[in-house]
Subunit: 214 residues, 2 copies
């Protein structure tokens, strides 16, 4: 495997690879054997040269005149994206968003297994969310360390985000998904991906304004 090359995949390409994988998994479940770069491009609103260029970043040889081998490309992408491994996840924040995440079945199907839900609000600690009992956020460092938790999802109010991140980092978390509006500071070895629904709405508002010259 060409590890050196894989290390350098730009973030924007990685983001598109996750979308190709989602489509390939759908095609696989419909037993479609082949897919062309132009089909992938059409589905995602991209050009086929972008798709072909992106796929040069993964080591895949199953290309024929019929297109890409769906099964093989899905497996290669899954490997590149770490979707062939299972990951242990802790959700911090037992508010509405945290509850939604803890009860979201898609995570486990994609290999992200939630092992615990945490909050610092005494009124929430001890409550049930599905099969989880909400634990005290102060026990995070020990829990993360002992249970070898890979990923912490931060779904707390913005002002508590850094404090929660520090607790997860103290337990040697390997990566953070930040769902708050706040920027979180972490050591270089702990990668952070931010998903902000409010920012997405602002991005959309900008596109609507532009489209309608408001």
């Amino acid at each position: 495997m060409n590890k050196g090359k894989e290390r350098q995949i730009p973030p924007s390409v990685v983001r598109r690879l996750t979308r190709y994988l989602a489509i390939l998994q759908e095609l696989r479940s419909r037993r479609t054997p082949w897919v062309s770069s132009s089909d992938l491009a059409d589905w995602l609103g991209l050009t086929s040269s972008t798709v072909r260029q992106d796929l040069t970043h993964v080591n895949f040889r199953g290309i024929s005149r019929k297109g890409y081998d769906v099964e093989g490309l899905a497996a290669t992408l899954a490997k590149t994206l770490g979707a062939d491994t299972t990951w242990s996840v802790a959700v911090v924040g037992a508010g509405n968003l945290g509850r939604a995440l803890a009860l979201h079945e898609e995570f486990a199907r994609r290999g992200f297994h939630i092992k615990g839900v945490f909050d610092s609000d005494p009124a929430k600690i001890g409550r049930r969310i599905g099969s989880f009992r909400v634990m005290d956020a102060l026990t995070l460092p020990r829990f993360v360390h002992e249970k070898k938790i890979d990923i912490g999802i931060i779904a707390v109010p913005s002002q508590a985000a850094q404090q929660v991140a520090d607790l997860l980092i103290a337990g040697r978390i390997r990566g953070l998904l930040n769902l708050t509006q706040t920027h979180i500071i972490a050591p270089k070895k702990v990668p952070i991906v931010a998903t902000r629904i409010v920012s997405s709405l602002q991005e959309l508002a900008h596109l609507i304004k532009r489209r309608h010259s408001l």
Copy 2:
């Protein structure tokens, strides 16, 4: 206002502008009058030349030796991003994620006002979520048209996403936020922004693998 220039802001820059705005709003609430491009860069893990380059896309003149005028830059960014207007929103999907969104207070604070929550499941229609009563998804075209809804948030299972988008489009929705894994097809005049928490987890898994050479 230089509309022509504003029209061409690349999506990746727009995404960063939403993050600058979030930080500026935080600084404003702490009454910090000035901020430098290198401070903004440090907070977001960017280079200060990226920040300066990004900010050339908005028409802002409040720059001095002390840095950018926080109040003024926040106002300019809010205008560019449509965050100075209020937007009407319909949430489709009354499952865990839809519930979380409908109860999320940050939306209204940022100018996104939820006007209705919809589902197609007879068991969910009529139920209360906060101050909302879940409405039948089939009434979406009329509701969107009559209430002049700007944005539809799609928080249904993936297989229902396109059908829901079609109902929103039939009511002349202006933009869609797609929270499902599926790619949605819409007329060119209806912009779509996709936020996929599972994709973000996959992106994070890739970064962890790369960091640890797994």
